[in-house]
Symmetry: C2
Subunit: 196 residues, 2 copies
Amino acid sequence: MAENPLRTTYTVDSLLAVTVEVFNTRGYDGTSMEDLSRAAGISKSSIYHHVRGKEELLRLAVGRALDGLFGILDEPAALAGRPVDRLEHVVRRTTEVLLAELPYVTLLLRVRGNTGTELWALERRRDFDHRVAELVREAVTAGELRADVEPRLATRLLFGMINSIVEWYRPTGAGGPNADGVPDAVVHLAFDGLRA
Amino acid sequence: MAENPLRTTYTVDSLLAVTVEVFNTRGYDGTSMEDLSRAAGISKSSIYHHVRGKEELLRLAVGRALDGLFGILDEPAALAGRPVDRLEHVVRRTTEVLLAELPYVTLLLRVRGNTGTELWALERRRDFDHRVAELVREAVTAGELRADVEPRLATRLLFGMINSIVEWYRPTGAGGPNADGVPDAVVHLAFDGLRA
DNA sequence: GTCTATATGTTGATAGAC
DNA sequence: GTCTATCAACATATAGAC
């Protein structure tokens, strides 16, 4: 599974790992197949042996991120219990998945919608947000969140906060699900605020 | 100031307004000068009469956003008073400026760092964040924010939340500084949290 | 599975007429 | 201040040898 950095042969997965790093550094549009071939240490044609083209690399990468996120919604703790507890679980797990799949989620969040693949990714992201917004709505109705919270607006701000982590987080090696206490900080800030 | 959509002549400012919309829709790298000329209704050469090239359009646009944000730090309410009140002012005003200069701030926040102009924008953004993080630190020290708040982490999450507004907010015409109650919601969520 | 060479289209930018 | 025409550079993708 783990391969040598001096490798001379790639799998789709190992090629994808290199690709996503470059996409995140230079942007998808700003990355040429030449850039990718240099980063991978193989020729452009060799890349075309593994995938149909640049857009397929994007689709595989954002698909991986989306699978991780949607998996959260099927976890037992997201399906049963008090709405506020289910919401807290989704918030914490979303942060954890974002950290665990950081490069893939980063790419997903930067997609703008120029191509068919990008539009598909945007649509699936909206699906995910809507399902969480529904959870917020239930928690407000149950009186478990402040009554003056507008569910749609609160969900957007909440996920804006979580998603922004990709802009600055870099693994420290400590790793693990609760990397550097970030998920704790997110849950604490979201539910209790900054004020003393 | 406001010009006819059927205009046949542009100023740098009016050209910039059109340009920024296209950049935000297609991404900077994903936008060709051909795209811009079509959106503006003039030829590519005519654009080059107003600006030296594509990168100058980017520089002018993000410069406008940065000027608006740095202006906040010089406002009286950001310079004197209890740290927590100064922080609340900066949080509210940042949200207001983001909404008032939405397309320009949107573009600023999407810059990645491929060109010199982009690196300059990233550096100025970091400056701004550092100055706010210092304010958070003061407020924690003064006991006005929860003691378990890590200033750098809290600042990042806080501004992540604010900046994410560009991903979904669209003006409703109501306008005004407190557009649709968004600044209120941001301040409330940031300082008091969601919990009932 | 990799390579070199190349086909084919798009890009940012310029020249010069009106 | 606008236009048409054009360019060199670079893009994605393919062909076919090893």
